[in-house]
């Protein structure tokens, strides 16, 4: 697909860099002290996440991305049966922990899909698919079937 033939729905989109910046900003806001304070932190300037500045190098943005994810994983690992009933607030809206996690999961998945699609476009012919390559589903399924049979046979022997 050349640039001239881009369908209308893919034009004028955010760059990968901007989506990374937005997701990192969201994670840092949402998961910092998420059990005790509103998950839209006062120091977040969401609109700025869609504007790149000279300091937004690729290295810096990927470091922010990593920071955001470490907050996500840290927060999830801080949840237990003791604090599971805590009500979480996002812009003043009450959420159960399950709902808050689902809200973030679907939001991230939406943008991850965008990033993967943009990456695929920019990588061009060098793109290596993240899942089963086109036209190879049956081969993949057969390989899995054989692995499962092998495991089953080993289990039976054991």
């Amino acid at each position: 697909m050349t640039k001239d033939f881009l369908p209308f729905w893919i034009t004028g989109t955010n760059s990968i860099a901007v989506i990374i910046k937005h997701l990192a900003g969201n994670m840092i806001s949402r998961w910092t002290d998420f059990l005790t304070t509103d998950c839209e932190t006062p120091d977040r300037y969401r609109d700025q996440e869609f504007i790149l500045t000279p300091s937004d190098t690729r290295q810096y943005l990927m470091a922010r991305w990593e920071t955001g994810w470490q907050l996500v994983f840290g927060a999830v690992s801080s949840i237990s049966s003791i604090n599971f009933i805590t009500t979480v607030y996002i812009r003043g809206e009450a959420h159960s922990i399950v709902r808050a996690c689902h809200r973030q999961m679907t939001h991230y998945a939406y943008h991850v899909g965008q990033i993967v699609q943009l990456s695929r476009y920019h990588a061009g012919d060098n793109w290596k698919t993240l899942s089963i390559p086109r036209g190879q589903s049956e081969t993949f399924n057969e390989t899995l079937r054989q692995k499962q049979m092998k495991r089953k046979n080993l289990d039976n022997k054991g």
Binding site: I16, F73, S81, I115, V116, L130
Partner: protein, 45 residues
């Protein structure tokens, strides 16, 4: 949910978050700097 169910939920949600992170990192590694910062625009509004 009992304690075991809560832990299962947290483990699964953690795995899914890890998958999303990995999908992006594998994808952007395949893109050069030009692509990383590019805004697609063919002039169509």
């Amino acid at each position: 949910m009992n304690a075991e169910q809560i832990q299962n939920f947290l483990d699964e949600i953690g795995d899914s978050f890890h998958t999303l992170k990995r999908q992006v990192e594998i994808s952007v590694k395949q893109v050069d700097d030009e692509g990383f910062f590019a805004i697609l625009d063919n002039g169509y509004q």
